[in-house]
């Protein structure tokens, strides 16, 4: 595996890096003494570093390729670790109990700060599961997803401002409005696929944001809307901490509901049609599936969850303005889906927790936070392109099947 060729290639990479970084790493102009320092040590460090990194990179790639070949020869793919553990009651029952216990006691044990971070993560779980319908199941690359999130948030904020609509009323209304926006956005992009779809949806997302930013009479422009009430609990007066805990449990409930619905959807007639659309649009139509309805339903269902997430977001922060709904937000949600594993519910949950919690706890290295983040994503795409948990399809059991196979 470690051939001379590999070493030579890594050597070339390190030479190339030394050359590229020469002006910034080696030459240092001392402006006070008007001299130039030549820091040759730095060059050696860059060279050595690049060599080692490139070498390990190559080894890792080679191992991955070897693994793939082996799987092909043996004719069966190894079932990934996590789904295997999930299907074994000896692991998943204690795991489930521990998770439930942790989830219930979390806000009472940890600080309000921690609880708030987890609420944000849970919002991303819900919104990510929604986008997972559009991108992971139906295969429609939507980069303007945050628009529906904004629709949800502004529905609550504006309805509350003008008509005093409460959180619990706004939740279904926000979902419904986002659903309608999903259909509205779905229509013009019905004929588009892949890159084109991505670009057009990105444009739509920006349009919504720009409208919110500039239409002062409607959305109060960049100054946004403040004093949005937190969700009420039978008219009780909650302290700041209590209401955080309450939102936390509301979010847990919403996340559970999302998981329940998405699970049921993906193993249904509609869910299968979404996946078929992702796999092959032409064959899908030729098998009698109405492409228009299937695409629109995916857009609308995905948007619905974003709308609900938006309502909770507005309630949690009590203040919204257009800067919360930039393209960057769409990208993060997309990363949640892609990193976690397209089409996998557990994957999206893990993806959301990792992507939202990691940067929070990496604040110590805040300068390098995005660098680590980026490196992590690149590594994932190279070594586990299917995401942390790759989507598994349902296994149907049939009586007598075993005998038939053996005979």
């Amino acid at each position: 595996m470690i051939t001379l060729q590999e070493i030579k290639k890594s050597f070339l990479v390190s030479l190339w890096f030394m050359f590229l970084t020469f002006p910034i790493m080696v030459i240092k102009v001392n402006t006070i003494e008007q001299t130039i320092e030549w820091r040759w040590w730095w060059m050696a460090a860059v060279g050595l570093g690049a060599f080692v990194l490139s070498f390990f990179w190559r080894i890792a790639i080679a191992r991955k390729e070897a693994g793939k070949k082996k799987a092909e020869v043996s004719g069966e793919e190894k079932i990934a670790l996590i789904p295997r553990l999930m299907s074994n009651p000896r692991f998943y029952i204690p795991g489930l109990v521990a998770t439930v216990a942790l989830v219930v006691i979390f806000p009472f044990v940890f600080s309000m700060y921690q609880t708030n971070i987890l609420i944000t993560a849970l919002i991303y779980v819900v919104v990510g599961l929604g986008l997972n319908i559009v991108v992971g199941l139906a295969g429609l690359l939507d980069l303007g997803y945050v628009a529906f999130y904004a629709v949800g948030a502004y529905s609550y904020a504006l309805l509350n401002y003008h008509f005093g609509v409460t959180f619990w009323m706004a939740l279904p209304i926000g979902a419904l409005l986002a659903f309608l926006f999903g259909i509205m956005l779905g229509f013009p992009v019905l004929r588009l696929r892949g890159d084109y779809l991505a670009i057009v949806t990105l444009g739509f997302g920006e349009i919504i944001r720009l409208v919110l930013e500039n239409w002062n009479a409607f959305s109060f422009g960049p100054s946004g809307i403040a004093n949005i009430p937190k969700p009420g609990l039978f008219g009780l007066k909650l302290s700041l901490q209590q209401s955080s805990i309450f939102i936390y449990f509301v979010m847990i409930g919403l996340a559970l509901m999302t998981i329940f619905v998405v699970r049921r959807l993906q193993d249904s007639r509609i869910g299968r049609a979404w996946i078929a659309l992702r796999e092959d649009e032409v064959a899908c139509q030729a098998m009698g599936i109405d492409k228009t309805r299937t695409k629109l339903s995916a857009f609308a269902m995905g948007a619905t969850w974003a709308g609900m997430g938006g309502v909770v977001f507005a309630a949690k922060t009590t203040f919204i303005n257009p800067t919360s709904f930039t393209i960057w937000e769409s990208v993060i949600i997309l990363c949640v889906v892609v990193l976690g594993g397209m089409g996998s519910i557990l994957g999206v949950i893990i993806g959301a927790l990792v992507l939202i919690l990691l940067p929070e706890y990496l604040r110590a290295f805040s300068e390098y936070r995005m660098l680590v983040f980026g490196a992590l994503l690149v590594m994932m795409m190279v070594f586990r392109p299917g995401g942390i948990v790759s989507g598994v399809r349902r296994i149907y059991k049939f009586e007598g099947l075993q005998n038939k196979v053996d005979s």
């Binding site: 004719g75 069966e76 793919e77 619905v261 049921r264 959807l265 249904s268 007639r269 509609i270 869910g271 299968r272 049609a273 996946i275 078929a276 796999e279 092959d280 032409v282 064959a283 899908c284 139509q285 030729a286 098998m287 009698g288 599936i289 109405d290 492409k291 339903s297 269902m301 989507g391 399809r393 349902r394 296994i395 149907y396 049939f398 099947l401 038939k404 196979v405």
Partner: protein, 262 residues
Amino acid sequence: MKPVLDVNQLTMDFGGLRALDHIDLQVHPGEIVALIGPNGAGKTTFFNCITGIYAPTKGDMFLTRPQGEPKRLNGLKPNRVTERGMARTFQNIRLFQNMTVLENVMIGRHCRLHTGIPGAIFRPPASRREEKEVVADSYAMLEKIGLTRYVNEFAKNLPYGAQRRLEIARALATEPFLLLLDEPAAGMNAQETKALDELILRLRSDMKVSILLIEHDMKLVMSLSDRIYVVDYGKKIAEGNPEEIKSNPAVIKAYLGEDIDA
């Protein structure tokens, strides 16, 4: 009886290229009809036109359910055509690779089912029953085609011959009375081809489907077909039973260098 498929003067232009030039073709109930011709003759284009994937430049296409009225196919979307009872397979296999074999067949059932989004979420008794039925029906289809041993495999992991059979199973799951097969034997070995030959005859006798097939394997075509149409450069150059086609000088000329008896 009325033909199940009646195509008149079908013409398809791609820019300046006339891929189909005033083609007439009929398939009668219970018939196995072959459409043959050299590569690039326009056979697949013909399928794409009648199934609604392409909109033909000119011509009329009618589909008639046995004991039914003729329905015009022009302007219908592919899924509507399939709902009307004509299903197809593809020359370059187009399975849903990351779905299981069973799910591929279940997709074929889609247009005969009704569960929508509310039904999927709340699962009322009707949806539960329908879901049970679709699993059972799809499994029964796999039994008919002989693919049960792969039931939970991803389609992409199947051997080539099995993938071609799965395409047929998926198309049959839509309950067609006319089945279009685009080079079903391509890439199959002699043994698989023989099994395919038997399968196609069985489809006609057991499931009462008429069949229109595109095929390059002349042995298969000659043994299966009741009638054969030959196209070359988008034009129909001959039509008749296998004996007539074998001795037709125009056909021999089109296939010059190719052994039609092979």
